[in-house]
Amino acid sequence: MRYLFFLVLVLTSLATNAQPAKAALQQSITRGKIVYNQVCISCHQADGGGVPNMNPPLIKSKWVDGDKKVLINILLNGFSEKVAIDGDYYSNNMPAQSQLTDQQIADVLTYIRNSFENKASAILPQNVKTCRKK
């Protein structure tokens, strides 16, 4: 029921506020790029290509444009499991970035979900807040 309510809310806001929503998305992407260049760029590189065998690429990655919670939790908690990403293994650990604010995490994730050949919905500060509480 809560989801239905949320859906109706989203649809209504889309119908009535399409232009402002688009502008908000663009602003989040712009802010996210600044965060990316400060925090992420040295490992994941300017083109999101990562470093072969070392740091995974963010390009067309289902880790990036997939489940929001998975992605948010990688930023909040870091990631050190050895898993294959498109058949390749990456050795460096992802450090937790929990020092960033909810807004910064939302912005940087929205930026990568809309860059490097990814196309996925925005992540909002309240999404981050929910994950951080757990």
Partner: protein, 425 residues
């Protein structure tokens, strides 16, 4: 006819490609293209193989065959044996075996030694340098620490029956939380008990573990390139310096400083050597040991009072993955007993351009530099304009010397094997 047409087209394309391939391979010896490499005058290079898989370290037998350690086993192809087909400039894979990926490979006293990221194996060779029983190697060492970061195990042997392996620190600078901004450095660094150094084992004793080995040298963040220097009868290693000075300490380092610092360092090691990681790093511009910022440093304060000085220092982040002391006679006198270093190429210089992707040379006399280092072979990447490491076509990783004194270089992007010779012309 409609069906035949595409086939006919394909047929002619194949003939054309075949002709191209043949002229390509024949001319690769003579056409002066040097497989795309830039070399000093009177040297030539050929690409013996390409696309054989991510090729880490290599070892050449007295007969001139090439053992290649593959990063990924892909079934039972963890080690490839290549043989040069004389006069063609190409080498063919004549054997593949080993169900483990890894980095280290070496030949000593009639055995081939190879490592995964956890274990070291050896295989008896016949009098032609061919592995006799590829399915049943002896496990010499097992259970070495592997925690993803700096996991590769390089190996080298001395003349006294010992094998040495790098156990890289699973950390950048021994922070409580690796690479997390603001997380302090641990003192003493607990990683150093079981990693961050070189361990020594007996070369002929099966099933050794940490308990059988000696921590030969400590304070080494990560070593990939290492070699035994016969003129000094001692172990030399190339250390990968720490990353991310600007990311973690923007108050002390701007992006440019962070791209150049710290040095990649060459050390001569003896039993008990300490090279100072994580408490310090070496600044090649000031020629000083600097206190690491995780331990109270600010980019100026000196540190590493108990740590030894490097033999040579190179620009930051170039990633020295191969080290070879040249003992051959093919190359001119200048190269004798000097060091070739395969630089894998950087990733930690962003937003500056990435650098490296080359083989360097430093002349040495009795294990001490007798001149400045220089670029020996360049342009493995195919371009100087690398902003992201994946743009590099090839990345040098392993080095080996052939029986005639030729220099071999492996690449671990798609797997090329280069042979560099002196032509005198």
């Amino acid at each position: 006819m409609k069906i035949i047409k595409p086939f006919a087209c394909l047929f002619f394309v194949l003939i054309w490609l075949n002709a191209f391939a043949q002229t390509g391979s024949k001319s690769s010896i003579a056409d002066g293209n040097n497989a795309g490499l830039i070399l000093p005058k009177s040297f030539a290079a050929i690409k013996l193989a390409d696309n054989i898989g991510k090729s880490r370290h290599i070892a050449v037998t007295p007969q001139g065959d090439i053992y290649v350690k593959q990063l990924v086993a892909n079934g039972s192809k963890g080690i490839l044996l290549l043989r040069e087909e004389k006069g063609t400039g190409r080498a063919a894979i004549i054997k593949s075996f080993g169900d483990y990926g890894g980095t280290g490979i070496a030949i000593k006293n009639g055995y081939l030694y190879a490592s995964s990221d956890v274990d070291i194996y050896r295989y008896k060779l016949d009098d032609k340098g061919i592995v006799i029983d590829p399915e049943h190697p002896e496990k010499i060492v097992n259970g070495l620490l592997e925690r993803h970061e700096h996991e590769s195990k390089s190996i080298v042997l001395d003349d006294d029956g010992y094998i040495y392996t790098n156990i890289g620190a699973y950390s950048n600078s021994c922070q409580e939380r690796d690479r997390v901004k603001g997380s302090p450095g641990m003192k003493p660094c607990p990683i150093l008990d079981s990693a961050g150094g070189i361990w020594r084992f007996k070369a002929d004793l099966p099933n050794q573990t940490y308990a059988n080995g000696t921590r030969y040298a400590t304070g080494l963040r990560n070593v990939v390139g290492l070699d035994w220097n016969k003129t000094t009868n001692s172990l030399f290693v190339m250390m990968h310096g720490r990353d991310q000075l600007h990311d973690l300490f923007p108050q002390y380092y701007d992006e440019k400083q962070s791209a150049e610092l710290p040095a990649e360092t060459m050390y001569e090691l003896h039993n008990g050597s300490n090279c100072g990681w994580p408490y310090m790093y070496y600044d090649q511009q000031k020629h000083q040991k600097i206190l690491a910022p995780e331990y109270g440093g600010d980019g100026v304060k000196q540190g590493g009072e108990n740590a030894q000085d490097p033999v040579a220092a190179f620009p930051g982040h170039l990633a020295p993955n191969g080290l070879l002391f040249y003992t051959g006679t093919m190359f001119p006198e200048k190269y004798r007993n000097g060091a070739f270093i395969a630089f894998h190429g950087s990733w930690n210089r962003a937003p500056e351009k990435q650098k490296g992707f080359l083989v360097a040379f430093v002349p040495l006399k009795n294990g001490k530099p007798s001149g400045d280092w220089e670029i020996f072979a360049d342009n493995f990447a195919g371009t100087n304009d690398i902003t992201s490491p994946r743009q590099a076509a090839h990345r040098p990783c392993g080095l080996a010397q052939g029986p005639d004194g030729a220099l071999y270089v492996s690449d671990d992007v798609k797997g090329a094997i280069y042979k560099i010779i002196y032509t005198g012309k």
